[in-house]
């Protein structure tokens, strides 16, 4: 689906925090309240959900500190009250219901990478050229389109190549998937 999120650039929030020069990464920790989220009691991921971005990715204007969608406040299941949206990465990088933001010197652990490091990398940029070990990433079904023409070719960086490709120039995106 193509979602109209509402928020402002995470960079504004980061500037207000005035992180030290030694901060190389930003880590996001989500709410892990078993009373509101009973599914946490099941054995699946390590809770609280942790995600992270390199400092330049976090400071990019497209990284959105998000408070709403479709002109309304975020519902609980979409990450209320505040989440981030990183539109050029796979969805699990866009952490929801954030309660803690940390500025750290080394790459922080992230939930899916912890759970299956051979399947989920740290960067997780949308990349049709790098398959997931168990499925292809070359095409996608866009929900919301008429069902007879949903499938389309996936674009590198989800179509944001012009805006973000420079962040990864020189990087082997197959190794750093």
């Amino acid at each position: 689906m193509v979602i109209p999120w509402a928020g402002y650039s995470l960079s504004e929030f980061i500037n207000q925090c005035e992180p030290l020069g030694s901060a190389k990464y930003v880590q996001f920790l989500s709410l892990a309240d078993a009373k509101q989220m009973p599914g946490i009691r099941q054995v699946s991921l390590n809770w609280p959900y942790s995600e992270g971005l390199r400092m330049d990715e976090a400071m990019h204007p497209l990284t959105l500190l998000t408070l709403g969608l479709y002109g309304d406040l975020l519902p609980n299941q979409d990450g209320a009250p505040v989440r981030i949206v990183v539109p050029w990465k796979y969805g699990f990088k866009s952490a929801k219901s954030i309660v803690t933001v940390r500025f750290v010197a080394s790459q922080p652990p992230t939930a899916w990478n912890d759970s299956a490091p051979q399947e989920y990398g740290f960067y997780s940029n949308v990349n049709p050229d790098v398959d997931h070990p168990r499925w292809s990433q070359k095409s996608e079904r866009r929900i919301g389109e008429p069902f007879y023409k949903q499938r389309r070719t996936t674009l590198k960086f989800n179509g944001y190549a012009d805006q973000v490709a420079r962040l990864y120039s020189g990087m082997d995106l197959r190794k750093n998937f």
Partner: protein, 209 residues
């Protein structure tokens, strides 16, 4: 059970078996198939397939439990063929609505995504069973028909494996149908064993007494 009652029952069973596909058509035309119609259709047809397969596998154990239920055999082929019908709709939905008949996409999927490998294999196992479901085939194949149709156990097990492999880690939706299938698969050797014990316990009476 008198023939008239069986015919009436068959009409009801036909209606019940057609309900899933008719429900989908109704929703497609009059209400809604949800935000992801392809998924809705895939899930409904898949569920119908495994449920009908499992119900058809309950017939023989029930007949073994009581000789008065032997008429149930007349429903087994009907249920099996409807299971194949829904399995074929399920496969067609995957081929057409999901993959848009893109051969490269589908071969990559079938080789790479093991739940699709399992699903396609299960359908391929059901195909010869559907093709040899006629009375002509039963006559022509004789003893081999029985052996061939044991493949239904493999297909049902593969279907359940397909279900487990496709749900996300932690999801337990396939659990109930797995347990029912497990009971039914165990029921066959169990009822055979019970039958043998009963036969051994009875004294052999010579006919001239």
């Amino acid at each position: 059970m008198p023939n008239g009652k069986i015919v009436a029952l068959k009409v009801l069973v036909w209606i019940a078996c057609l309900y899933p596909v008719l429900s989908l058509v109704y929703r497609a035309v009059f209400t809604s198939l949800g935000p992801d119609p392809t998924h809705t259709i895939t899930f409904a047809t898949g569920l119908a397939t495994i449920r009908l397969l499992v119900i058809s596998l309950a017939i023989t154990p029930l007949r073994r439990l009581s000789p008065r239920l032997s008429w149930l055999i007349r429903f087994r082929r009907l249920l099996g063929l409807f299971a194949f019908f829904y399995a074929s709709l399920h496969l067609l939905t995957y081929l057409g609505l999901y993959s848009y008949f893109d051969v490269k996409l589908m071969s990559a999927d079938i080789l790479k995504r093991r739940y699709i490998t399992a699903g396609v294999t299960a359908w391929l196992l059901l195909l010869p069973l559907a093709l040899t479901s006629t009375r002509w085939s039963i006559r022509k194949l004789g003893k081999r028909w029985q052996k061939l149709h044991r493949l239904v156990y493999v297909a049902a097990i593969l279907g359940v494996i397909h279900f487990w492999w496709l749900v996300k880690p932690g999801v337990r939706t396939p659990l109930s149908i797995t347990m029912i299938l497990g009971v039914l698969l165990l029921a066959r050797p169990l009822t055979t064993w019970i039958g043998n014990r009963r036969r051994m316990a009875q004294p052999r009476v010579p006919s001239s007494v």
